[in-house]
């Protein structure tokens, strides 16, 4: 059996100028082995260390790319026309030059061949948007800034609270009550003046998300709620931006890179959010302070890899971390072809109302229960009225802070203890901030309690506005 192999112009110096060579092999692999036996200098130009074709080398058999058939095992028939064809590609770099003052700062990166000066310029060209400057956003923004990512955007609308300091390492006591985004910006500029830090002091919403995200290369999701998580995911899919996802709860963390290079998005994994209230927030469920430090740092690591185009990104992989057992585990994820946003036939093609999608009552759907302020409650107590205050917090919370004469039933024990409550009596429900108590109000109304009211702002508001001797936690 004999067929002809055509050598491309740039490689003919290795074949003594021959452009066409007669070969005998029955597969492309055999043909190439034959070629290398005759012209040993060719192998390193065509195959990589693992024996696969280099990515800028194409082999065609009878005008068909072997990558579209059986690769190197593609059959070669008598008289076949085999060609080695260079993939010809290139283009201009758009990378900024490093300033003189930056060379010493990044010298440990330059020692890494995977990064070097060129990789550092890629980081400088990079634009990363960090949504949420809390537990995850703190380490992520600090490490990305230290690493020299050129532009960092920060989205948050909150102010610094003392209870944040247990894990949100961007902030100190001098920032209490101040804007998170402004405080973060000052901290990051102090860490690395070569980085451009852009403040977006807003709540990310369906109205502004596309406009904000479009100017960035990568989004780091450091949010703590489902509506924003879905909003970020969908916006990233629509704009074609990778979404470096992280989430934390109690002692467990999750990390993945969504919507990157054909990989799955968050909705491929979770098409719909859990029912509201099923998954407690960190405020309700608690979180180990160091946990977001680990998860947020992994997010920074992945963002840096994407920008520098190195390593193996956490695409199609869902990394789970358990801080108590100190174990990492990994789930394999695939893009869901039926995914509503990134699937083959998407049903969602524009941003939606994510509060509604996640079953959270928006302003349009008013809660069925009433509210009472701590001042109104205090007036009733002072006037000598008999008031029933149902405190639904956990027992340890009552040890930290309490107000007199409450009926204490922890939230999850309320359904089993309805007989302790009088459906015709006025009941004021208390928790730390008014969120859990609101859910219990809803529950009681649905179980024929008529006169239930939520104490707005919870015991926190009581401490701040009525009795400062009650500790804030």
């Amino acid at each position: 059996m004999s067929s002809q192999l055509k050598i491309p112009s740039p490689l003919r110096k290795f074949t003594n100028g021959e452009s066409v060579i007669d070969v005998q092999g029955g597969t492309v692999r055999e043909v190439l082995e034959e070629l290398f036996a005759r012209y040993p200098g060719l192998q390193i130009h065509l195959l990589d260390e693992s024996g696969d074709l280099r990515n800028f080398v194409n082999v065609y058999v009878n005008k068909e790319d072997i990558r579209h058939s059986a690769g190197l095992d593609t059959q070669v028939k008598e008289g076949s026309d085999i060609r080695i064809v260079p993939a010809i590609a290139g283009g201009a770099d758009n990378l900024p030059e490093l300033e003189t003052g930056e060379f010493n700062r990044y010298s440990r990166h330059f020692s890494l061949p995977e990064i070097g000066v060129q990789g550092q310029r890629k980081l400088k060209a990079g634009k990363v948007l960090i949504v949420g400057t809390g537990g995850l956003g703190s380490p992520a923004s600090l490490y990305l800034t230290a690493a020299g990512v050129g532009t960092i955007g920060l989205v948050d609308f909150d102010t610094v609270d003392e209870s944040n300091l247990q894990r949100q390492i961007l902030f100190g006591v001098d920032r209490l009550g101040k804007s998170k985004v402004q405080s973060a910006r000052e901290r990051l500029k102090a860490l690395n003046p070569y980085v451009n830090v852009i403040s977006h002091e807003v709540a990310l919403s369906s109205e502004n998300a596309l406009d904000i995200i479009k100017d960035y290369d990568i989004v780091v999701d450091g949010t703590d709620n489902f509506p924003t998580r879905y909003l970020i995911n969908d916006a990233c899919v629509f704009l074609g931006k990778p979404n470096v996802y992280g989430s934390i709860f109690r002692f467990e963390g999750q990390i993945s890179v969504f919507n990157y290079d054909g990989g799955p998005c968050y909705r491929c994994l979770y098409p719909e959010p859990p029912p509201p209230g099923l998954v407690p927030s960190c405020a309700e469920g608690g979180v180990l302070g160091v946990l977001p430090g680990i998860v947020g740092s992994i997010q920074a690591n992945e963002a840096i890899k994407l920008l520098a185009e190195i390593g193996r990104p956490l695409k199609g992989r869902f990394l789970l971390f358990d801080a108590l057992s100190m174990e990492f585990s990994e789930l394999k994820l695939k893009r869901n072809e039926a995914c509503a946003v990134c699937g083959n036939d998407p049903t969602i093609t524009d941003l939606i109302d994510y509060q509604e999608f996640c079953g959270i009552p928006s302003e349009k759907t008013k809660p069925k229960y009433g509210e009472i302020s701590v001042h109104e409650l205090k007036e009733k107590i002072d006037a000598g009225e008999t008031v029933t205050i149902l405190d639904v917090r956990n027992p340890f919370e009552l040890e930290v802070a309490t107000i007199p004469n409450v009926l204490h039933i922890p939230m999850n024990e309320v359904p089993a203890n309805l007989d302790k409550l009088n459906p015709d009596e006025e009941i004021f429900v208390l928790c730390r901030t008014g969120i859990r108590s609101g859910k219990i109000c809803e529950y009681l109304i649905n179980h024929n309690f008529k006169r239930v009211k939520n104490i707005r702002g919870g015991i926190r508001a009581w401490s701040l506005e009525i009795d400062p001797s009650v500790p804030i936690y």
Binding site: K6, P8, S9, P10, L11, R12, K13, S19, H45, F56, N58, Y60, K63, D65, R83, V85, P86, A87, I88, A89, G90, G91, A92, D93, N94, L95, Q118
Partner: protein, 143 residues
């Protein structure tokens, strides 16, 4: 410094092509002779930039177009000696991306186009260790 000799019509053809494709990158082949001592380019064959996106910063030549150009050259006893591409609003120096995709033996000619006008062009050869490009002298020869 190594040298590449180009017919003046070759140069004017690729400069015109680079200006025509602005703000996108143009790409094409130069065919000619390479007798190991002297490279001589006699004709410029423009190619289509088949990148779907970001054609201002990237080019890609269809492998079938490469085969046609090589066949054209072979039929005339010539070979492909150079790949030309433009850098719109960027210098005529090879990028990191260019180096990662370069082949040994080809002369890579880069045309810098500013605001639609070809400003400068230089020729580069990949070093044998692939670590950098070496500049070549371009000598223009008359028809």
């Amino acid at each position: 410094m190594a040298a590449i000799h180009l017919k003046s019509s070759v140069v004017s053809d690729f400069l015109r092509h680079a200006e025509k494709e602005y703000p996108n990158e143009c790409c094409g082949f130069i065919i000619g002779t390479d007798d190991t001592k002297t490279k001589k380019g006699v004709e410029y064959l423009p190619a289509a930039n088949t990148k779907d996106t970001n054609r201002e910063r990237r080019f890609l030549i269809d492998p079938l177009a490469y085969q046609e150009a090589e066949d054209t050259a072979d039929e005339r006893g010539l070979s492909i000696i150079s790949i030309v591409h433009s850098h719109p609003d960027h210098p005529d120096k090879p990028s990191e991306f260019d180096r990662n995709h370069a082949w040994p033996g080809f002369s890579y000619i880069i045309v810098s186009v500013e605001n639609g006008n070809a400003k400068n062009y230089r020729s580069w050869q990949l070093a044998p260790d692939r670590n950098n490009f070496n500049e070549e002298i371009i000598k223009i020869i008359q028809e």
